[in-house]
């Protein structure tokens, strides 16, 4: 017997005026997995998540959470989910402990139980010291953790996380990832949205990519990445170096044509195996091509997008993208973890 899916959505549609923010999305999230919804700002990730979490009406298609229809029985669905929004949905004027107590009371816990649950969750999320402090004095990372804790009071089997680490520093981000993994170890199913390929890669068992309200790809993170290559070797040639010769060397070593920016003397080489970076560098030295700097970068969301859709995360050659974002802004710097190797 196969277990009932945690989320089953067929042909979900959300319209805002003439814009189809979510356009015919099918989704199946299996029990016990972390499912990542990957896409740039304005792709429709949050809208889709809010529809599944009963926070937005469904304009077309249908969705079920553990077999319960979202549109028909939202009250039942709300008893099965925990929602952690993009902006901390906790009360600024209350302390951390008061927030959790309130949410516990609102979900039918007795006052003493609500207090005990609050204490346990605060300790679990490393917020024990800050229990009596007001949220307005909390850092971004502490807010996110409290927000997540607030979603776990009744131990719902499905957790929605909307961009759980956007805006967090790398260390806090890592802690959040550990917490999310622990949730799944406890038997939760997690549906999270993210704009970081790296995050989907680290956390998600399966990923779907959303662009302009449509699902453009689905699979494991590895399957997605093989479509773009694992990483990119970025070479900055020394001033006056022979670019044509450099290109020829790369082509000979890797059998692939590098992407060049002639004005700045930069070469981008897709690498399926990072080791081969050394081969390229040695060959370049032997050929007498001077190098100013070298770095290896993981594929960015932009590159995944380009591979999947033929356009960047923001570009929309037809009607002018709904997100209206400027290219480059959509590529978070964290996504582009560059490692300097030589100078």
């Amino acid at each position: 017997m196969t277990a009932m899916p945690a989320v089953q959505a067929d042909g979900l549609v959300k319209k805002f005026g003439d814009v189809r923010a979510v356009d015919q999305i099918d989704l199946e999230v299996r029990q016990g997995e972390i499912f990542g919804v990957l896409g740039p700002n304005g792709a429709g990730k949050t809208t889709m998540l809010k529809m599944l979490a009963t926070l937005l009406t469904i304009d077309g298609g249908r969705a079920e959470i553990f077999g319960v229809d979202v549109a028909a029985e939202p009250h039942r669905v709300r008893q099965l989910i925990g929602v952690t929004g993009q902006y901390a949905s906790v009360d600024e004027d209350l302390t951390a402990a008061e927030n959790l107590w309130l949410f516990g009371r609102l979900q039918g816990l007795r006052s003493a139980d609500a207090r005990a649950t609050a204490r346990r969750l605060l300790a679990q999320f490393g917020l024990g010291e800050a229990a009596e402090r007001r949220i307005s004095a909390f850092s971004g990372g502490m807010r996110r953790r409290l927000d997540l804790a607030a979603s776990l009071i009744t131990r719902p089997p499905l957790i929605f996380l909307d961009e759980p680490t956007t805006g967090l520093d790398p260390r806090t981000r890592g802690q959040m990832w550990d917490t999310i993994r622990e949730l799944v170890d406890d038997g939760c199913t997690v549906l999270l949205t993210t704009q970081y390929l790296d995050e989907a890669d680290q956390l998600a068992d399966r990923v779907c990519v959303i662009d302009q309200g449509r699902k453009v790809a689905e699979g494991t993170p590895d399957e997605l990445k093989t479509q773009v290559g694992d990483s990119t070797l970025q070479l900055q040639l020394a001033p006056g170096a022979d670019q044509a010769r450099a290109r020829a060397v790369v082509r000979r070593v890797l059998g692939e044509e590098p992407v060049t920016t002639p004005e700045s003397g930069r070469l981008n080489v897709p690498l399926d195996v990072a080791d081969r970076a050394a081969d390229v560098l040695i060959a370049l030295r032997e050929a007498g091509v001077g190098i100013a700097s070298v770095s290896v970068a993981k594929p960015t969301l932009d590159e995944v997008f380009f591979a999947l859709t033929g356009h960047g995360t923001a570009a929309d050659p037809g009607a002018g993208g709904p997100a209206g974002a400027v290219p480059g802004q959509d590529t978070p710097s964290l996504d582009h973890t560059t490692t300097e190797m030589a100078r």
């Binding site: 277990a3 009932m4 945690a6 029990q31 016990g32 972390i34 979490a53 009963t54 926070l55 937005l56 553990f66 319960v68 029985e73 009250h75 039942r76 709300r78 008893q79 099965l80 989910i81 929602v83 929004g85 902006y87 901390a88 949905s89 906790v90 009360d91 600024e92 004027d93 209350l94 008061e98 309130l102 949410f103 009371r105 609102l106 979900q107 039918g108 607030a150 131990r155 719902p156 089997p157 499905l158 993994r181 799944v184 170890d185 406890d186 038997g187 939760c188 199913t189 790296d198 890669d201 680290q202 956390l203 998600a204 068992d205 694992d230 990483s231 990072a274 290896v296 993981k298 490692t339």
Partner: protein, 285 residues
């Protein structure tokens, strides 16, 4: 760089779920019970009281208006309307009480709107809780505001030399009536709070309703002095009923039919606007 190798998801063992989804689905209930709704309303009232205590500046309008307006109206209009300030007070104080309570209602609507725009309301919406509680909770807490507003007006009157003929009981009765009426009328402003686009919008709309309602009544001048058509309007204006009932209670210590009309008006407002507010709050989803 080979992030795939240290991918923890690959090696992570999958234990049997501690939270069994099938059992969780079986436990779900179709709707919120009456008892749960009451608990939730009280929890939301607790939240509103906490917020009031931590943002005392919210009380400025409630506290300042009775003090300022009572003195201003008494000294500016007293001589013209009643011959002198002292004999104007029995007419004026109940009028100010009504005005203050109505203005406080406006604050209820405005603050609800502000509150609803905050992130925490996303959580309230996603919780399996009564859709009435987020609206009714703050209104329970607001009873305190009406009480403070009405009491302060009488205190200011006493300072200016007002000696209510109805005695302590009459004044307490008048305060109780004002608190109840304020609470009931506030449902109309709560509804405005749920339909308006912004807190400023709520304030604008509410002012448009409040100004004519309080000034086209017998709150500050005897309606006999007005043109006939206006006098007729003041007679059906619910504010006039509240003012008359308050005068009867505070000045004469008698409960008249005006109390009945006032309570009926309040009841009608609740019956109409409570369901409208809840429906509008749900539509926001």
């Amino acid at each position: 760089m080979t992030t795939v190798l240290d991918d923890p998801t690959a090696a992570r063992p999958r234990p049997a779920p501690a939270t069994d989804p099938a059992a969780a689905v079986a436990r779900t209930r179709a709707r919120v019970g009456v008892g749960d709704t009451l608990t939730q309303i009280l929890a939301m009232a607790w939240r509103a009281l906490k917020k009031m205590r931590r943002n005392p500046e919210q009380f400025f309008d409630v506290a300042l208006q009775p003090l300022l307006f009572t003195a201003m109206f008494a000294y500016v209009f007293g001589g013209a309307i009643s011959g002198d300030v002292h004999s104007y007070l029995p007419l004026l104080i109940p009028g100010i009480v009504a005005q203050t309570v109505l203005t406080t209602c406006m604050a209820t609507g405005t603050q609800l709107r502000e509150d609803m725009d905050k992130g925490v309301f996303d959580r309230f919406r996603s919780l399996p809780m009564s859709r009435l509680a987020p609206l009714a909770g703050p209104m329970v807490a607001d009873l305190l505001r009406y009480l403070i507003a009405a009491s302060l007006t009488y205190v200011m009157g006493l300072i200016l030399g007002y000696r209510p003929g109805g005695g302590v009981l009459g004044v307490l009765g008048a305060i109780l009536l004002a608190v109840l009426t304020g609470w009931a009328i506030a449902w109309a402003f709560t509804w405005i709070g749920t339909v308006a686009r912004s807190a400023r919008g709520v304030q604008g709309i509410s002012m448009m309703i409040l100004f004519p309602l309080t000034f086209l009544s017998n709150a500050f001048v005897p309606s006999k002095t007005m043109p006939g058509w206006l006098e007729t309007f003041t007679k059906v204006n619910p504010v006039s009923h509240l003012v008359s009932a308050t005068r009867d209670l505070a000045n004469n210590g008698v409960i008249t039919g005006q109390v009945g009309w006032t309570l009926l008006t309040g009841f009608v407002v609740v019956v109409i606007f409570m369901p409208l507010s809840v429906a509008s709050y749900k539509r926001h989803l």
